[in-house]
Symmetry: C2
Subunit: 323 residues, 2 copies
């Protein structure tokens, strides 16, 4: 350990439920990583005090050059302003960069959490070696990030790549976003589990029916385990998820002619049960040239993508690198 | 008239059925415009001779600085190579730029025809004043072009913005592109008319039933005329088209957060019967920020967009302007 000699960068992934932070060196090796429940940090005032203490502690061990935040909502990367954070009602209209820099005396940068994860995968993970890439984050929500021409694509007002809100048909369930039949309203984690419960009672032969009887609930991991054991219900379930995600991705691929789709988040743990039918669906249904030129791969960093990407933003923004 | 004094540019829009050309001055005022049936020009050898004569004729009157071609298929803007042209089987693997420059002794540039139309609308037409725009061309096919960050977006392999091939549901008609339930298989001109015929016999009260009895066929113009006369069948028909196009555009808007959608092609002649329900659909169903930031407008140049855009490419490429 050579404390305080080498340059380090702090990445903070401020999620809807968890607070994660990590310290990386100049080569983005993770030197420190912690994940904790958000708890009282939901209050911005508590957060400020906590982060001040955290940075003070970490600074004893590391030479922190800058800090990057990945935040769950529309934030302005240029000005460092938080418009609002999803599911965190007290975070609204805060000049976060300015405030943090006053408190911490270290340069602070911030971006959307999915953009942070996208940058991590693009520069350091499964997205390397292309110019046009979409990141898909499968969780409670279904989010996305876009790299076009080697740069994060930010659109007219910093809200892009909302793959979870591609409508899959003209009629269907109403989505939180006010849309109808959005991808997320089918394959968001909770919606997936609700769907599994709805159809499971028709399949007493599935091992999952026994699991449910025993544990009262089932998880997406249970469904993947059942698929591994050859359970037809579970395999069909993942095929169905692949079809829905595939339909949205066919549209994206035909429009954007991207080279890589990097899929992360809890649901991606279904592995080949999701990826194999998904790749086949896109290969069969997307237009020839686009289908031939796109690879669908699993994210490398998974739950660390946010902090690594936030640390990357901290480093690159400090070096005035455009990304 | 001040022949041969001012700089002029020739744009050639080489469609699947028509050959159009136009001469513009440095301010893109159209000095000459002609549209003719493709006929024998479907043969590349005949085309070469014809274009040579055409350029020789026009050169007597205009100082032609460069020539731009808009072509219906995948072509390589950088190298000037034609991969193939849709519905024109003899046009395959031709080094068109090199060949034309040898024959004409004038700099030649080429691009996809929809990119040409997109550039015309973006720099000179309804797309002015934004950085991110989608062009939608409604015709036999449903094509598109994308301007992102003020530049044509070309993707990994020069095939982008295929809005006609966004799938609208998991099941549906098989599309020429091999996809299922693509937008084009619903609202391509011929598919629209087939749909009108299929449902019209259930609506003897519509004025269109009388039109069909009299003329044996109906056209999309007839349907617009009927809508203008207050015919409920015709109004519902355009509402239905707006819903289908709207569903695809909601996905595009949620992903790309573009500021303008410029709609051209024959179907856009339906005017408010299409645009009013379309704008409402996108406003209601797209995500708030994206919906607030996008305008849906009618193309300015319509059937001249291709030649004006081709001439613009000729001028800008000659001036080494990036676009």
């Amino acid at each position: 350990m050579r404390p305080k000699v080498n340059k380090h960068y702090l990445g903070i992934d401020f999620g809807g439920t968890n607070f994660k932070f990590g310290v990386v060196d100049s080569e983005f090796n993770l030197k420190e990583f912690k994940i904790m429940s958000l708890g009282k940090l939901k209050d911005p005032r508590v957060s400020i005090v906590f982060i001040k203490d955290l940075v003070s502690d970490l600074s004893k061990k590391y030479k922190l050059m800058s800090i990057g935040f990945g935040l769950p909502g529309p934030v302005d990367f240029e000005t460092g302003h938080i418009h609002y954070l999803v599911n965190l009602k007290n975070w609204r209209n805060i000049g976060w960069k300015k405030l943090m820099e006053q408190e911490l005396k270290i340069p602070v940068f911030l971006d959307n959490d999915v953009n942070a994860a996208t940058l991590a995968e693009y520069y350091l993970g499964s997205g390397r070696g292309c110019l046009n890439m979409m990141m898909v984050a499968l969780g409670t929500g279904v989010g996305g990030g876009l790299i076009l021409g080697g740069k994060i694509y930010r659109g007219a007002s910093n809200v892009t790549a909302e793959i979870g809100h591609i409508p899959l048909s003209i009629k269907g369930p109403k989505c939180n976003c006010k849309g109808i039949a959005c991808l997320e309203s089918y394959i968001g984690n909770q919606n997936l589990l609700n769907y599994a419960y709805r159809i499971l009672h028709k399949h007493p032969e599935s091992v999952l029916s026994a699991v449910k009887k025993k544990k009262l609930i089932i998880s997406l991991e249970d469904i993947t385990d059942a698929a591994k054991a050859g359970d037809k219900f579970a395999i069909d379930f993942w095929n169905d998820v692949a079809e829905k995600l595939g339909q949205a991705l066919v549209g994206v691929v035909n429009i954007l002619n991207i080279e890589k789709i990097v899929i992360g988040g809890g649901v991606s743990a279904a592995g080949q049960f999701l990826f194999k039918p998904l790749r086949k669906f896109v290969r069969v249904r997307a237009m020839d040239i686009q289908a031939k030129n796109v690879k669908i791969v699993k994210a490398k960093f998974q739950n660390k993508a946010g902090i690594i990407g936030s640390a990357l933003i901290a480093k690159y923004a400090l070096e005035k690198r455009s990304f």
